[in-house]
Symmetry: D2
Subunit: 307 residues, 4 copies
């Protein structure tokens, strides 16, 4: 008898995170467990109450989700095993029987509100924003009797919470996407696919002007392309940052492996967050002659020299 | 008859932003105008209803305020004229007569909630978070009858809204600070003080691996130190970023001027956000021989060669 | 009445340098003055006994002519105004009536001997080398009665000194060329042609590991391509070098001008050797957006920001 | 019965190279074999007629000995095993009974002549230079009856060839030194001493602007200091160079090993010339955390991540 995969996700039901969780392999047979925060999601993985956790890491419009970036930097024992892209589409919804002209205040997550701002300004002469923890939390609260006239949420939330859609796809950017990561306990990364990403957190040596430049040269010297770099405060004082970095390639790529070891020597603190398949399925390439075969022939040459 | 300076700030009264606004020169005689959002603050400056706007740009714990970073990148016509540091101290407060043991739900801004999380876990067996747009908005809402048992806000908010402090300084990091910027319409920067900062937004050329490295070399080649670099999505698709950068020095420093011109040639889009005095009053220095006198003697030499 | 140009060259008559001197504009009406050394050539220019001097700077096989590189670094007041390429073709020649089988010792310049080594090994069972100061000096000496059986020199020397060619074009590399420079007193460089070269001598700061890297970044940050870099000892002790560098472009190119000023700040000693047309007539381009129009628009932008 | 070491050196007896050969370990029991050229010296090692060869590589005043640099780049099968410094001191000498006032022409190597130029100008009203292949060859020739009035050579040559010293130590730079290398057949380098040097020849990829910068970054990314870089023409056409490089450290230093492998991937042609003790006995250090223990801990970390 097989045991179902248990996936913790940022709840309640109806969030975009739940949609992302549904994209995991075998998700159809999995048990989805809603949790209240990114930290709770990671805790669930660490204490064994979930096998995997799905949390948002970056929105194409709003940028990095700093709660996730910081939790990754501060939670030993977790690792990224996959990433998933979910298109972000917002609907305005209310209790059955409501009319658009009745809407005066809108409960939703600030990002959803910001994305819908232009539509609201054009279509609702006066409206005010009441912030919610997530779009699904807003829909659930309205269904439970919250004193607001409408919510902005994902289409799925309407059916889930018995609401009626007043206007569809009101977000400004129709191509908006959120990227989610699949987190598990630290372990051996999945096999290299050729379309991989490796994530790390790197602190800069505190007293070095040009430290960021020097850190980037650790990647450049091995031909490694970066697909993302996000600065986050270390938190002790202004002016000290760590960087959350996504690099193209897998830890089984020697270019990545050597860059990681270079960072380990350079940085006072470097955290490996995982090597995992890219959601966009593009090939991960290294510049110059930095394929594994190039590393092997260089190593053979070195061995022959050392005698 | 002198006219009072009109300063827009993220309201309502009692926010940390109001405290920052109080630090501007001549703030004691100024008219403080609360506004609802960063965008509203910038609009007030642009439409002339305010002379200056004060908005948060970075918290030492939570990092960059992306609404501000993005508004600066997307709002032509505004410029930074100053920065101000405000220590961030949170108190738990409720309606007069309340007791700590009565508190079940807490209305506050998510950052304040995150900062107070450890204290709450220890002192309030069960509690839930209701998000508010700002700590002062939470206090104001409670005073106006919101159905929550307590709020977390700055000390000043208690007196302002007739609330009673149940616990003082409950934030985890006692050194936490928020940095605020003073915004005005684009114009001639203030005079160089020797302790200056210059802010820019720089997009990377889209198709260049190593673009960030190359961009940083524009600063390094002139000995310019960076005090902050923040990546933000350009928003059209994943993988394209612009960088909000604070560099040490003033646009009247030739090192800064030449670096700015270098960025103008390198980048498809660079925005000058201003040169203004540093809040920490430290001297701004350039590495190597990159003082104005070094630029002058190099220019004299060049002129003599050109004949 | 016009006065003929006086051109000092490394003599005697019949040297490749004389051939190069013949390539100067108006050389047909010029007075050619043979001198004994590179230093004498420069002295002739400095003391006014010649208007121009022509000396070899680099051979495509043998590399830089260090006497010239060092004289340029150590002789204030001179500047390069042009460069000329001369194909290097060696003939074996002897007194009229000689036969190849008679040749036992060969008088010639070491470079000519090295270039002809393979031919000599194949065609002259036994032969020895007697070094001469130049190929033409060898021919002249043989004509004057030197006790050697043959010389290796340029074809022209045979007629000039009444010798007979025993074997033609015996050099190993048929494409070999020598590059010569035209030197005059320091002054305004000639006009920009679009196919220009700028030469400098740069010392590195003594105590800086990575100084060469940093120096090269002064060029890279302005998109300037180097066509040649030659290291020469400063001479005070091992491990201290100066670099003779040829960069693509003209001092009237802002990319070059800014790079020069950057070097002036970076280096304890930088010498401008001139901007002059390239002998290969290829276009000189700068990488990135580093044409003069790019510098102008960057400067206009800066001026508008400074208010 | 032990067999004496056979050491080929640039002859004849009395050269500075012979003095360098005398500095090799066990040189007192060695058989010294004079040869006529750098190529002959390398051939002697390759065909087994000598165990070691000693040739000059660099003079502190005159710079690199290009014949040696080029022979190292073009002679497969040889390797450097040591380096030796010899102070260069020149004496003016003539046949017994000669007087200084009799000297009209001086036979010597061009480098010795250049170094003695100032003294000659001051002390010999008129003199001319006759070039010789080496200072010892000049002394030997004079002893054998060459028609010149004096030679410039090392002190030792006077006694060796029965000449009389007319003036001692006439070189301009009293600190001048020549560095010699000890060459053997390619094999396992000697053990690491902590004061080591590693020599390589590196060609740049032909079509890459900024190739030199990129090559240097292979050293910089591993904290490796260079003590010497010399550019030499590849010889096929102008503008293509290879670089003879001396780096601090030994091939058993992981920093050096990784840099070598990086060069092997980057460069179309890289030649390892050897790792050997430094003649100056200074410690060889790598910048940053690039000692072998740093490489080991980085490797352990990587292995733990790979699972």
């Amino acid at each position: 008898m097989s045991v179902a995969l248990r996936i913790a996700y940022l709840g309640p039901a109806g969030t975009f995170t739940e949609m992302a969780a549904g994209l995991l392999p075998h998700a159809d047979k999995a048990q989805l467990i809603p949790v209240a925060s990114v930290t709770d999601a990671m805790d669930a993985v660490l204490d064994g109450s979930a096998d995997r956790a799905v949390v948002p890491i970056e929105n194409s419009i709003e940028g990095g989700v700093s709660a996730t970036s910081d939790a990754l930097a501060n939670t030993p024992g977790v690792q990224i095993y996959g990433e998933y892209l979910v298109p972000v589409r917002f609907d305005l919804m209310a209790k059955p029987g409501s009319k658009l002209t009745d809407v005066s205040d809108v409960l939703t997550h600030p990002v959803a509100f910001a994305q819908s701002r232009k539509w609201l300004q054009k279509n609702l002469a006066t409206h005010s924003h009441v912030p919610a923890a997530s779009t699904a939390a807003a829909a659930k609260a309205l269904a439970a009797g919250a004193q607001v006239s409408a919510v902005i949420a994902a289409t799925a939330a309407a059916e889930l919470y018995g609401l009626e859609i007043l206007a569809s796809d009101i977000g400004e950017n129709k191509e908006a996407q959120t990227r989610f990561i699949e987190i598990g306990r630290s372990g051996k990364p999945g096999a290299k696919t050729g379309s991989d990403k490796t994530s790390v957190v790197v602190e800069l040596p505190g007293d070095k002007p040009g430290g960021l430049l020097e850190m980037l040269e650790q990647f450049a010297a091995r031909g490694v392309n970066l697909s993302r770099i996000e600065s986050r405060p270390i938190g002790d004082r202004f002016g000290r940052y760590r960087f959350n970095i996504d690099a193209q390639g897998h830890i089984e790529d020697e270019a990545i492996a050597e860059a990681l070891m270079g960072l380990h020597r350079f940085s006072p603190k470097v955290i490996f967050l995982g090597s995992y398949p890219r959601a966009d399925h593009n090939e991960s390439v290294h510049l110059g002659n930095n394929e594994n075969s190039d590393y092997e022939s260089a190593k053979s040459w070195l061995d022959s020299l050392r005698g």
